[in-house]
Symmetry: C2
Subunit: 289 residues, 2 copies
């Protein structure tokens, strides 16, 4: 089974709870809307690639780790889109959850997806229960206080804050959890994998800056030119387009160097280089080669 | 150390994450506002009472189980109070979190408290890691899909639903998790304790109906007479005040009968009878005696 099929099936299995007796139908629909159809699934693919490189011995645990990360990512998008934050009308080319289902169900769907991430971890880790604690803590570190994505978002409510830095930290936190969780799910030590995740998070942010400057809204499924319009710091504004592409290439190489020693080290390194450059359109990536 | 001191200290320890470097100060303040000063702490006291009755052997695990339940309860109050739900100005006699800190921080504080519940469980269960999976699943069952408090709240967004029933289920879900988690934290089987939690949840709901009909807002810290004003089904409307008090007494006895066989069965039974009747003012409880 290819990795995308594996991820979609595991997500379907996790969301199957919404079809069980007693679940309010519209809540289940709102949760599905937040998770399907698929995005790029960059984070769970990263978790599974790291687990494989570490000699994955418990696929159900890796699946749970990967899906836990993705559900948390989807939950954060639902809440970030709410009227009191970005007030976004669209996401992945479709109405945002609160536009499609109303604000109450968007709040509740986000809450339920956060909880579902942990339900999924606990159920998936049943065969290797000693790995659960670290997986729960890794996810919490990426999402909660003091420095997870919720905290990153909350810096927007502070009178003085370096928002650009916190935005980047916010992206990096979940990427770091993706790599650390992949290692933990495979029975390896997690912390040596944090640097790889952080480097990839930064690369992803630069790629996002490049797409914001070069794509059209139809391709991207969300408004473009937002960095320039909102005078947000962006790698493209700071370095120019070519400079940003070179920077992405540099970050990809940093990420490759950050892969810890493991069984599948060389395969993972080439996977990471390819995947990072695939974040931007091929014709731009060629500039970087 | 008395049980209330124990709970407050464990909550302070859990919330200490908000004082760590990198945490946005106002998010930390909003989370504290949601959790302190103390409410009655009925659910965590119940968890600890059950753990004790089961021959508690790992106090850090019982603390984590109790605090996980209470943090989840506080999170649900913060989100329930939001303008898109109850739009409540006050809670426990003080401004609700969104009134005090704004809507964005109320959404984020609720999210962070949900995550903190799981962080607390994972950290507290480190000494007994094989108990963590069941604790995580028990909490998820009480809060998430298909039938937890989030789902209960979401029934308000369905075109046709028996809201009274779902409100009661919503209350019952967290009480059931409180008793089940107490047993699991002490290394006992959890499911035999679900009936006790459900009975106590119903008793709590009836007590709440009685207080809504008989208290004043200053004593209760929230508006009173809401059941009559909103034509909500209430034990007092259905049975009259004396009937509701008799019903509460009956439910307390049902709860006493639902205590499974355990080391501290008889102590727990008298604790439950006393505590349930303490939910309403003494002069009313005497009517029931």
């Amino acid at each position: 089974m290819d990795v995308m099929t594996r991820i979609e099936r595991a997500l379907q299995t996790a969301l199957a709870r919404t079809g069980q007796p007693g679940c309010p139908p519209r809540l289940g629909q709102a949760m599905h809307h937040a998770v399907f159809p698929r995005g790029a699934r960059i984070r769970p693919r990263l978790t599974l690639a790291v687990a494989a490189a570490c000699g994955e011995d418990a696929p159900a645990v890796s699946d749970a780790a990967a899906i836990g990360i993705e559900l948390m990512h989807c939950a954060s998008l639902v809440h970030d889109d709410l009227p009191c934050f970005d007030d976004a009308d669209t996401r992945r080319g479709r109405p945002s959850v609160h536009r499609a289902f109303g604000e109450p169900l968007a709040v509740l769907a986000g809450d339920a997806l956060i909880v579902l991430a942990y339900q999924t971890l606990a159920q998936g880790a049943a065969a290797q229960p000693l790995r659960l604690g670290q997986l729960v803590l890794t996810l919490g570190q990426a999402v909660g206080v003091p420095c997870g994505i919720v905290a990153g978002q909350a810096w927007e409510c502070e009178p003085a804050a370096d928002l650009a830095q916190y935005q980047r930290e916010k992206t990096g936190a979940l990427f770091a959890a993706a790599t650390v969780s992949g290692a933990v799910a495979a029975g390896s030590e997690g912390e040596p994998w944090r640097g790889l995740g952080a480097a990839l998070g930064e690369a992803f942010q630069v790629a996002d800056d490049i797409l914001d400057a070069t794509s059209d809204a139809a391709t991207l499924g969300k408004p473009v030119g937002q960095d320039l319009a909102h005078a947000r710091p962006s790698a493209v504004c700071q370095l120019g387009l070519d400079g940003a592409i070179m920077h992405l290439r540099h970050l990809a190489e940093e990420a490759v160097d950050a892969v810890p020693s493991c069984l599948g080290q060389s395969a993972l390194r080439s996977h990471i280089l390819t995947e990072t450059l695939r974040l931007i359109p091929q014709e731009l990536a060629r500039t970087a080669a």
